[in-house]
Symmetry: C2
Subunit: 351 residues, 2 copies
Amino acid sequence: MKNFDINEDPHRRFNPLINEWVLVSPHRAKRPWQGQNETISTESLPKYDPTCYLCPGNVRANGVSNPDYKNSFVFDNDFAAMKQDEIIFEEDIKHTFFKAKPEQGISRVVCFSPRHDLTLPEMEVADIENIVKTWQKEYTDLGNIKYINHVQIFENKGSVMGCSNPHPHGQIWAQSSLPTQVEKTHNSLKAYYDKNQKTLLEDYVQAELKAGSRIVIENDHFVALVPFWAIWPYETMIVSKRAISKITSFNAEEVKAFAKILKQLTIKYDNLFSTSFPYSSGIHQAPTDGFDHPEWHFHMHFYPPLLRSATVKKFMVGYEMMGESQRDITPEKSAEILRQQSEVHYKSAVK
Amino acid sequence: MKNFDINEDPHRRFNPLINEWVLVSPHRAKRPWQGQNETISTESLPKYDPTCYLCPGNVRANGVSNPDYKNSFVFDNDFAAMKQDEIIFEEDIKHTFFKAKPEQGISRVVCFSPRHDLTLPEMEVADIENIVKTWQKEYTDLGNIKYINHVQIFENKGSVMGCSNPHPHGQIWAQSSLPTQVEKTHNSLKAYYDKNQKTLLEDYVQAELKAGSRIVIENDHFVALVPFWAIWPYETMIVSKRAISKITSFNAEEVKAFAKILKQLTIKYDNLFSTSFPYSSGIHQAPTDGFDHPEWHFHMHFYPPLLRSATVKKFMVGYEMMGESQRDITPEKSAEILRQQSEVHYKSAVK
Ligand SMILES: O=P(O)(O)O[C@H]1O[C@H](CO)[C@@H](O)[C@H](O)[C@H]1O
Ligand SMILES: O=P(O)(O)O[C@H]1O[C@H](CO)[C@@H](O)[C@H](O)[C@H]1O
């Protein structure tokens, strides 16, 4: 019998945002790896690629030419997962097992830069500010459409994350329903707010700042941290200090501070394994259903798959799919490692 | 305005086992793919590999030699995610955000065969029966340990599923808590049983047999089907027709019938893309907490990542992680394609 040591002993942690547990196995990071290695492309890209369907002036699959854009550029996804068509539908309530509903939505692609060879960490803060403003415009425009109640802004970066084009871009899927993960978060935020008259993340950020051990970067308006309940090895979350429910409520200073922390965090990621660090990121914020959402608190998730090096990732497979998410290194250790990374990008440091 | 056509229009489907929705985009299967291709090994393996730590007689990382086993062989995982140590722990209930609990558990590896080069679809039904009996024994032995309340039997097959050794094997993670996914299923099964005095899956299987369109294989005791709410392109579930709560309640005929359907299903999988088909599979069954579980109904999930070919998989990334699971081909179409596959393995057909 020994006393519980959270840095050494296997344990479960609770995620109050979605009410789920994660299994943490600190000692397991030492196990050898003989499994699959990812191939990470190290070729340097041209500033402009004539075969890229996202570069300015080029023609897309549907025959339309991209404009000669200078900052960011947004267009409707040619292979959208949802359609805008209105569908006539009568719900058959007798179907206990075969419950289905049509879903209306719009998918857009957001090019972050006309430059084919740049990623977020290599852009100027002013350019990232431009992306933030584009996200604000899209959240407003899409959110104003009558049947759109949720706007999901996200980025898949790197081929290991299913991204098929290295040209820097993200996506937006806007739709009538709250997606499953967002609905879970919504319910938790709502319950907390109703009880405490404060947002869950407002109090959480304060508790994390006090604890210190999971903070990666802090500025006047935002904190980047490894959540206590993170499932991916180097998962992080950027949270606003103020209880801001949506990106369109940022003031000018907050837009700047957010752009800056985005750059700092992604530089640290790239420096970690000296590679263009793959991840899926996404913003969670208030639904666009026309109601006020004082319970919502802006945050952005980063889910990177890498665990040990540029080529060895964490597989979320058998146990994780059937049982629950499992991690091999503590969030505190990951935060420490990320904190130690330089804020100068390894590529520019080499020069 | 048009009438809803479930085979053509984007829609969401509801999974009553875990109370979550999935987004279905039937039209999207047509989009071109320029992304990452998996490397699938086609080299033929030796019957015995002197460097394999799972082959009979070989020495493992910890210096222990494997016995000269003839059927299946079980040992404690040398790099277990949980430990058996009893931990002294006082819960700090004031921690709203930092909730953690030590977790006790045992991880085992189950070698399916002494042959390095065989996989389930290539084994004799009698050999698979042996594996089923091994699972029964492990469920009993582990379940009898006082602090073990859940026994998760699973297999990661293929390097794309994080499996680092092609020697046919699965794993068992047994632990004190119900893992997140199992707890969700448990709650749904319990609510249904309390209301209907029948198991949810008993009624579901009957509804599916009546509908017919999602059935892949049926025998006297089991059905293999693509669930109405499947998230992976070729996801399937093997369900017992009778309400059996756990693998140890199978009668002799059911053991045979289960072994047989396992072989048939995995042959169809291999034949689909003429490859050793990767997947994670896992058995969901009653907790081993000492209580009766009439609400539980034995089922086995198969989550295969492939979508279009032996090298192109479905990526569950940005939208799927932030929003909800999304699929590009309807479950009915997948079931049809699987049904059409021969029950003779492509390798033996070639000979
Ligand atoms: O124990 P293994 O086979 O080395 O590990 C594999 O399966 C485990 C259980 O699903 C996962 O946690 C690992 O990420 C995966 O690589
Ligand atoms: O739209 P893309 O970039 O082709 O597709 C990528 O992102 C989507 C949204 O996360 C996923 O559904 C796809 O599986 C993935 O390949």
